[in-house]
């Protein structure tokens, strides 16, 4: 530990889950109490390892499949208009599950872009042509809004899917596999990335190359170089 803060609790949980386990109040409390107890340590710096991995759900989710059936499988859709239409159909068919998720949880993390899911699809899909669509928000630059819309869309998909039977405890890897490998939205983002790498819209190249596709997923792009 190079930095040596006065008190630190190291936790073995995946990035994005510092308290370890969503929906497990008892486990979260254990983590929190372990951190708070460091205030009682008489001298330091002190670095303590939390001893346990995050619990995994006993009723692990069933393997995920794309919830939408297309007349033409999305991997064979190359025309951008058809791809955009497929994305809108996918968004529409997830809507009832998303609405159920919001009702059940009493919250949603979708909304930073302030676009509806349908508007997100239209806005993101517009970049497939290499053109800059009109910016519907005056307070945020186009590249930033694009980034927020992408993250909102991903949240919309995952919140919707985890409302479906047997998927409420789907782990992060399963959800990411599903989104990036099985959905039209994932394919659209890979395609948009390729287009936007050449974009002259301020900030768009930076977003496309660094803040759009997770490092762990880059190799899965159909455009990735072998």
């Amino acid at each position: 530990m190079k930095i040596q803060p006065p008190r630190a609790l190291w936790v073995p949980f995946e990035l994005g889950r510092p308290l370890g386990a969503p929906g497990d109040a008892a486990f979260q409390t254990r983590v929190l109490r372990a951190a708070l107890q460091l205030f009682e340590t008489p001298s330091g710096p002190v670095l303590v390892d939390f001893p346990d991995d995050a619990p995994t759900a006993a009723d692990a989710s069933t393997p995920l499949v794309c919830p939408v059936n297309f007349a033409s499988p999305p991997e064979y859709v190359s025309d951008t208009d058809l791809l955009r239409a497929a994305l809108q159909r996918e968004i529409a068919q997830l809507r009832t599950w998303y609405d159920l998720a919001v009702t059940t949880r009493g919250r949603t993390t979708v909304g930073v872009s302030r676009l509806t899911p349908e508007e997100m699809g239209t806005f993101i899909g517009a970049f497939l042509d290499g053109q800059a669509p009109p910016n519907p928000r005056a307070d945020i630059a186009l590249a930033a809004l694009f980034r927020f819309a992408v993250e909102d869309l991903k949240s919309y998909y995952c919140e919707a899917l985890t409302a479906q039977p047997g998927q409420s405890t789907a782990d992060s890897a399963t959800l990411a596999d599903w989104f990036w490998r099985e959905t039209t939205a994932g394919r659209v983002l890979f395609a948009v990335q390729e287009v936007c790498k050449q974009s002259e819209v301020p900030g768009m190249h930076v977003v496309a190359t660094g803040f759009l596709i997770p490092r762990a997923r880059s190799a899965e792009s159909a455009f990735a170089k072998a």
């Binding site: 073995p12 969503p22 205030f39 930073v112």
Partner: protein
């Protein structure tokens, strides 16, 4: 921080390549017992109220946004908390399912109610981080002053 052997190789290489600052001194403050502690959370998850400004996305003005933070009132409701962190490399599905996995406010309130800690601060704070830590020094000093005004004597720094 995750186990590095559980992290994707590309992400692991990026994490290992990050420079860590070092310090000449190691300040230490003992403070009162937990029961007398007023606790605040400072997150680097890029959290904010739904109608607040999102965190800036591009790195063109990195120095200007390094100390950018948002205020999270202690009485915020779960549906009012959103995340606009720029990174796409950490899991967000846990936060989607339960905000406490990132910002354990409900758990903190329970510990206060159970008499484990003294009280919970009136305000919590979130940065996005993702910058040179030394560039956040000015904001950290400002936040320390605000926390003292709130009579906070214990801060949980919760990275993402």
């Amino acid at each position: 921080m995750a186990r590095l052997d559980h992290v994707h190789p590309a992400m692991r290489a990026a994490l290992l390549a990050m420079e860590c600052p070092t310090f000449d001194t190691h300040p230490w403050v003992a403070g009162p017992a937990l029961l007398q502690r007023r606790v605040a959370i400072v997150s680097t998850a890029g959290l904010h109220r739904r109608d607040d400004r999102p965190f800036a996305v591009t790195s063109g003005n990195a120095r200007a946004i390094a100390g950018d933070y948002r205020v999270i009132p202690n009485d915020i409701v779960a549906n009012d908390l959103v995340m606009s962190h720029v990174s796409t490399n950490f899991d967000r599905t846990g936060f989607q399912q339960d905000w406490n996995v990132v910002l354990p406010l409900d758990r903190l309130h329970e510990l206060a109610q159970a008499g484990v800690i003294g009280s919970v601060a009136a305000f919590h704070y979130s940065f996005m981080g993702a910058t040179e830590p030394s560039q956040m020094a000015s904001a950290a000093h400002e936040l320390a002053r605000l926390l003292l005004q709130d009579h906070v004597n214990a801060v949980l720094l919760v990275p993402v």
